[in-house]
């Protein structure tokens, strides 16, 4: 993909984001933030691609700087993704369970 095309996508997505979430009820401030945070874990895709920088055959992953960094990238992105979505769901579950009782 060319740079210009990527820049187009980036700028348009920011505008789209602004339109999508212009009005947020205060109740949802925290879950929206936490859910958005989980989405920012999309960097996991980049992290997984780093697993192409593999060490040579038969060598430990930790013998190569690029692959050590790659593993760290995957791990931290994964914490962000799993932790983020689960915590958001826990929060939102509290909001909705109460509704049923009413």
């Amino acid at each position: 993909m060319t740079f210009l095309l990527m820049l187009f996508v980036f700028v348009l997505a920011i505008f789209a984001g602004n339109e999508l979430i212009s009005k947020v009820p205060p109740t949802l401030h925290t879950p929206l933030m936490s859910g958005a945070n989980a989405i920012s874990g999309i960097t996991i895709v980049g992290a997984l691609m780093c697993a192409q920088f593999a060490p040579d055959e038969g060598e430990s992953v930790f013998s190569n700087t690029a692959s050590i960094l790659g593993v760290l990238a995957i791990a931290f992105a994964m914490v962000n993704v799993i932790g983020g979505f689960m915590v958001t769901d826990r929060m939102l579950a509290m909001f909705s369970s109460k509704k049923k009782k009413k």
Binding site: M33, A54, V81, L92, M94
Partner: protein, 484 residues
């Protein structure tokens, strides 16, 4: 469309899921399904990447397994174990990890491709993603990804420290901090420039490491001087940064899914940041410069001696006041979170309701330490959503309300904001609690709130100070009420 691939099409599906997810996340009814939708999008993106990472790219499975299992397990444990009161810290920490991951992606790309530790030239030539960006753009993206990702990480750690009380909530003003900020920012950018455009080989590597170190210091020194109560702004801004960092990582690897998802997060974080700033009637710049509030600027501020004619009430007296009330508004603040008083507050609310009293809760947008903090705590203790009111909707009601119970809030109910144009908080929208019949101010002492200024509400005729720990005081009040 010679580069067309099925995997790319599925990435587009994941992008659509994120857009739908984040849209639904901003409506109360659909929020939970929105989150689930985004999670499905994430799962899809991960699976596509694992199955078809791109032409000619082979993933090293031990690396994938190690990272996924280690990180996934840690995330699982953290999400399961966290108490609702620890939520602000966790969100800040996860946010930091997201930024750190983007940094590592850029660094790993740099080491693997740029330093040529792995010879990918053959595969890159035939790849549809590989080195297409090449040269300058790629270099800039790496530098920005490292910069924003690292700032997000260390900044979030500082925010987390402040939220959890491990660091002082007061602004921490390092001597010469503006100079330090300027040096690390420009030094970092210059090193980034050298790494990308001038140096080669090991020398470029040192420049990238220098950039990382500068970015790390920048994150620390830019969050330290910002006081605890401004954390809602900082946390949402850092949230925005983590999105930008992910989008930059997208530029690095040439993937539009990362760019779109990152941009969406960047936008949503920015929207929240603006909402938080408006709620305090301050500009983003003013918040970021820091130094607002806390001990450091309590000049002409308040301590107990400055107050005259303050009336106090014990639990017994307070209970009697509540007993006679037909309408009560609760105003929770950060003190309620600290005292973990949300459950007793809810019990008290229910007891009053059972006596035929009208009960509502007034939520100031920046009450607490993260956007929507009070809503989360009250939801945890099962306060019905219908009883929670935003500032604009409830401010007219204080006039006709018998009793307002303020639990651990101070600056957001300070009438100075509307009555004294010279006050540091002048113009900040406040809850007009002083207009209600009686105010019960549950607070540990007469000490000033975060803004470090006197609150004349304490001296008003209709205000009773209820000194004590929020939770303990309300419990005693509840017992009195039930016995009386």
């Amino acid at each position: 469309m010679e580069n067309f691939s099925f995997a790319q099409l599925l990435y587009l599906v994941a992008t659509a899921l994120f857009i739908m997810g984040i849209k639904k996340l901003s409506k109360v009814k659909t929020a939970r399904s929105g989150n689930a939708l985004a999670a499905v999008g994430m799962g899809l993106a991960i699976v596509i990447t694992l199955v078809a990472p791109g032409l000619g790219i082979k993933l090293n499975w031990p690396m994938v397994a190690m990272g996924c299992l280690g990180g996934g397990l840690l995330g699982l444990i953290m999400a399961k174990r966290v108490e609702m009161t620890g939520m602000p810290e966790l969100v800040a920490l996860l946010n930091g990890f997201g930024g750190l991951a983007s940094t590592f992606v850029a660094l790993s790309e740099f080491w693997g491709r740029y330093l040529g530790q792995t010879d990918l030239t053959a595969t890159a030539a035939s790849s549809d993603e590989g080195l297409l960006l090449g040269g300058a753009v790629w270099a800039v993206a790496i530098v920005l990804s490292v910069l924003v990702g690292t700032v997000t990480f260390t900044g979030s750690l500082m925010a987390m420290g402040k939220l959890s009380g491990r660091l002082s909530g007061n602004p921490i003003l390092l001597p010469g901090r503006h100079l330090i900020v300027a040096i690390v920012l420009f030094g970092g950018l210059y090193m980034g420039y050298l790494a990308g455009f001038s140096e080669v080989g090991d020398s470029a590597m040192y420049m990238i490491l220098g950039l990382t170190a500068c970015a790390a210091i920048f994150g620390v020194v830019s969050v330290l001087p910002i006081g605890g109560a401004d954390m809602p702004v900082v946390v949402s801004l850092l949230n925005s940064y983590s999105g930008i960092a992910a989008a930059m990582a997208g530029f690095v690897i040439g993937n539009s899914l990362l760019i779109v998802a990152g941009a969406l997060v960047g936008a949503s974080g920015m929207i929240l940041t603006v909402i938080m700033c408006k709620a305090m009637n301050r500009s983003l710049g003013n918040v970021l410069v820091g130094g607002f509030g806390g001990d450091a600027v309590a000049v002409g501020g308040a301590d107990a001696a400055d107050y005259e004619g303050v009336k106090s009430a014990g639990p017994e007296e307070a209970a009697m006041i509540l007993e006679a009330a037909t309408s009560v508004i609760f105003v929770p603040g950060y003190g309620m979170a600290v005292a973990q008083a949300q459950h007793v507050v809810k019990e008290l609310g229910e007891e009053l309701e059972a006596r035929g009293c009208k009960v509502s809760y007034a939520i100031h947008p920046v009450a607490g330490r993260m956007p929507g903090h009070m809503n989360v705590l009250l939801a945890e203790s099962d306060v019905p959503y219908e009883q929670l009111f935003e500032l604009e909707r409830i401010n007219g009601e204080f006039k006709t309300t018998d009793v307002t119970v303020i639990v651990g809030a101070n600056d957001v109910v300070n009438p100075e904001a509307i009555e004294n144009p010279a006050s540091p908080i002048a113009g900040m929208p406040i809850l007009n609690t002083h207009e209600s019949g009686t105010v019960l101010m549950i607070k540990r002492s007469l000490s000033p709130g975060y803004a470090g200024i006197k609150n004349p509400l304490f001296e008003r005729d209709n205000c009773y100070m209820c000194f004590g720990d929020g939770k303990a005081f309300i419990q005693e009040m509840l017992i009195e009420l039930k016995e009386g």
